[in-house]
């Protein structure tokens, strides 16, 4: 190939003008990679065009770059640690560290729950069995036996449901995509506590109703997401009797979650002095 002729053909100028198709461009790249002279010439043409654009102020506005960078940063934010903890520039290590810290904690909590669940399961199963044997052995009053059997079955059902909830709760604890926020009781009810799981991928909020007093008639608990400088955001009302429930989707820079007691059906505005439990997202 005659390199001089190749350069003089105008193909290098066409290359930067976007005049060539992908295959033709790759061919130029290939030739440039084996002929330093072509590579050099290619760069010269580019810098001539670049100088032209700078001199005549034809370069695209820097706002385009800044907006793109801002959008990228925003898209990265669901990697919630960065957002919540406002570690702006070197979030990667922070995140890794946080994860490796959290996981064993969740695992430990999950294991404890699992062991408790299994123990209960065994306990009730054996109780059920032995009661059954006892009843058969005694051949006592049928009425009584039936009552006992059904109440035991009820108990077993209840236990089954509790187990299902416990499983669900374990799943939430184990889910790496969940931020876990423990909400502790405030003055109104110091013994109370509840847990929030906030999925960073779907932004769904789940509540685990752990220890909240029975709400008075005509009232309901409501979860709120708290952001700096804003009124609490409604995260959904929930049923006191269900252990784990999925509530609303919450996005953005949440700093805390809180539960207030509201009239049945919930309220658009939080009754702050009826806050039962509250918990902040952990700071690293």
């Amino acid at each position: 190939m005659d390199i001089k002729e190749y350069i003089a053909s105008g193909i290098l100028e066409a290359y930067w003008a976007g005049e060539l198709n992908e295959q033709e461009m790759k061919e130029v790249d290939r030739i440039a990679s084996i002929h330093p002279q072509v590579k050099h010439e290619l760069e010269e043409v580019r810098s001539a065009v670049l100088n032209f654009s700078e001199n005549l102020e034809l370069s695209p506005s820097k706002t385009i770059l800044n907006d793109a960078l801002a959008q990228i940063t925003e898209e990265e934010q669901p990697e919630f640690l960065k957002e919540v903890f406002k570690v702006d520039d070197e979030p990667v290590e922070e995140k890794e560290e946080k994860k490796s810290f959290n996981l064993p904690l969740w695992s430990a909590a999950a294991s404890v729950l699992l062991v408790i669940s299994l123990a209960f399961n065994f306990y009730f199963l054996s109780e059920f069995q032995s009661s059954k044997n006892q009843l058969l052995g005694l051949q006592g009053d049928l009425e009584v036996i039936k009552d006992q059997q059904s109440s035991l079955a009820e108990l077993a059902d209840e236990q089954k449901q509790q187990l299902a909830y416990a499983d669900l709760r374990i799943a939430h604890f184990l889910n790496e995509d969940n931020i876990h926020v423990r909400m502790d009781g405030l003055d109104l009810s110091p013994e109370s506590f509840a847990n929030v799981f906030w999925n960073v991928k779907t932004n769904s909020v789940f509540i685990s109703v752990d220890n909240l007093p029975e709400p008075p008639h005509g009232h309901q608990y409501q979860l709120w997401a708290i952001k700096a400088g804003q009124a609490p955001i409604d995260a959904g009302i929930f049923d006191h009797s269900l252990l784990v429930q999925e509530l609303k989707v919450i996005k953005g820079d949440v700093q805390a979650f809180a539960v207030t007691l509201e009239k049945e059906g919930g309220s658009p505005v939080a009754t702050v002095d009826q806050t039962y439990v509250k918990g902040f997202l952990e700071k690293s």
Partner: protein, 185 residues
């Protein structure tokens, strides 16, 4: 990212720096891409969407796509510019399929170039003066050709039609203009 990273030195080319920074997930890569290839990519996009404002919009999306697909660049398959052009063309074509593109097409057929500012500070004042001089001395026709070919998204064929100039002459004059801008006379 199985590629071997070039070891960066002060001699490294812009391309090597960008490849390195991209593989390193460093956002400075985007700044370098924007500064060195931004206007060329904008031109590539304008060849498809024909509207500067919209092309700028696409360029912004392209930067984000570059970032999200930085792992897919493979220097064995071509240069960084070829890869960037491919992303830009696809994004521009996607844009032409979007609803807002069709709406704009209906309402304003031809859009004047928007004047944009923003300048980079120069390292070497005299070098800059010389280059400015080269640009200023560029004959009007050649300047028009450079503008159309590199900044206004016209293909050589379109320029030939629009200026009623044979295709071969368009190509020769563009090359002549570039040579002039390089100080090669």
């Amino acid at each position: 990212m199985a590629q071997q990273l070039p070891y960066l030195t002060s001699e490294s080319t812009v391309e090597e720096r960008i490849v390195y920074l991209l593989a390193d997930q460093d956002k400075k890569a985007l700044t370098l891409i924007f500064e060195n290839y931004g206007s060329l990519l904008l031109n590539v996009i304008m060849r498809v969407v024909k509207d500067r404002m919209m092309a700028e919009d696409v360029l912004q999306q392209v930067l984000i796509k570059i970032w999200n697909n930085s792992g897919s660049f493979n220097s064995d398959k071509g240069s960084i510019f070829t890869w960037l052009v491919s992303i830009s063309r696809n994004a521009a074509i996607d844009k032409t399929r979007s609803k807002d593109f069709r709406l704009t097409q209906e309402s304003e057929r031809s859009v004047e170039l928007v004047n944009i500012t923003e300048k980079k500070s120069s390292e070497d004042y005299f070098e800059k003066m010389y280059l400015t001089q080269l640009v200023n001395q560029l004959p009007e026709v050649q300047r028009r050709l450079i503008n159309m070919s590199y900044f206004e998204g016209y293909s050589h064929k379109e320029i030939s039609d629009k200026l009623d100039m044979p295709l071969g002459t368009v190509k020769t004059r563009i090359r002549l203009a570039i040579n002039h801008l390089r100080g090669v006379i």
